[in-house]
Amino acid sequence: MVLNDIEKLLEKYENGETSLKEEQELKNYFSQETVEPHLEIYKPMFAYFLVNQQEQFTKHVPLNTKKVFDYKWISVAAVAVLMLGIYLKSTINNDLGTIQDPEIAFNEVSKSLEMISRTFNKGTSTLGYLEEYNKGASTLEYLNEIEKGTSIIFKKNQ
């Protein structure tokens, strides 16, 4: 490149008016082995820019995804437990020992009714002593007679 152009570019460069393309030309020119002696001072500047373009970031960045606890799964679990509970309960309640055959059912019913009456009779027989009580109460009837007698006496006095 013509020296004159470089000098013009440098002036533009210092005023911040060069385009990126023109700056690239300057960088190319100053990366040569030999440049004009009076432009020698620019060389380290452009060399520095070029070297610094290559510096890299090598540190590892840990990209952890935050574990957000999802509360909606708790409700899902709760519903599941509830359903399981209802299911188990209904299966237990269904088995009431219902007898399908009417004849066996009749026998069973009479058997259990018989048992009820037997135990009922046993209960009433123990209540037999209440009759003794009635007997005692009837012997106390003579007290009425006494009262009658006394009432007659009191009437006479009056």
Partner: protein
């Protein structure tokens, strides 16, 4: 958005984020932390990433703001870090740069520039962004970017000339 999709978006400019952070914070370790922080923030907001018009420009702005916050908090802690004598023994790149002493001078000179000019130089001469893009990233107008750029370039050239002539004398 999966991790892979995210990396595809972020990969092309993560080095640029790092270099801008380093330009502002000087120290490589701090720049690495800042880059990590910026990328993590992007990752955590990955749902919104599709809404951004320009993720790269957005990230650069984020980096700038993050680094400014860091620098401010450092000042408020009364811990004055003198950047110009910070010794970075980490990268082989630095050694490579130091092989050429005058190239090392350039980095010293840039470190002494005001933050605005440093950023503009970084984004223009190293990352080669458009002036409008830089204006967008730094919340400045086009003319201000140009003025900062021009001032920074002139300062670098003047200081280089000075050190150069001192070297001869």
């Amino acid at each position: 958005m999966t991790q892979k999709e995210f990396l595809n978006i972020v990969m092309p400019f993560k080095d640029k984020v790092f270099r801008l952070a380093k330009r502002l914070l000087i120290s490589t370790e701090e720049a690495e932390d800042a880059t990590q922080e910026v990328l993590m923030k992007l990752w955590n907001n990955k749902e919104k990433i599709e809404d951004y018009k320009n993720v790269e420009a957005f990230s650069m702005t984020m980096t700038k703001n993050f680094c400014f916050d860091k620098l401010k908090s450092k000042q408020s802690q009364n811990l004055k870090i003198v950047h110009s004598n910070y010794e970075d023994n980490n990268t082989s790149l630095q050694k490579q740069v130091e092989l050429n002493d005058s190239v090392h001078w350039v980095s010293r000179i840039i470190e002494e520039l005001p933050e605005q000019q440093r950023m503009v130089i970084q984004l223009r001469d190293i990352e080669e962004y458009d002036l409008d893009e830089i204006a967008n990233m730094l919340d400045m107008n086009n003319t201000a970017v140009r003025a900062n750029l021009s001032r920074a370039r002139k300062t670098i050239r003047e200081k280089l000339t000075n050190t150069h002539s001192y070297g001869i004398k």
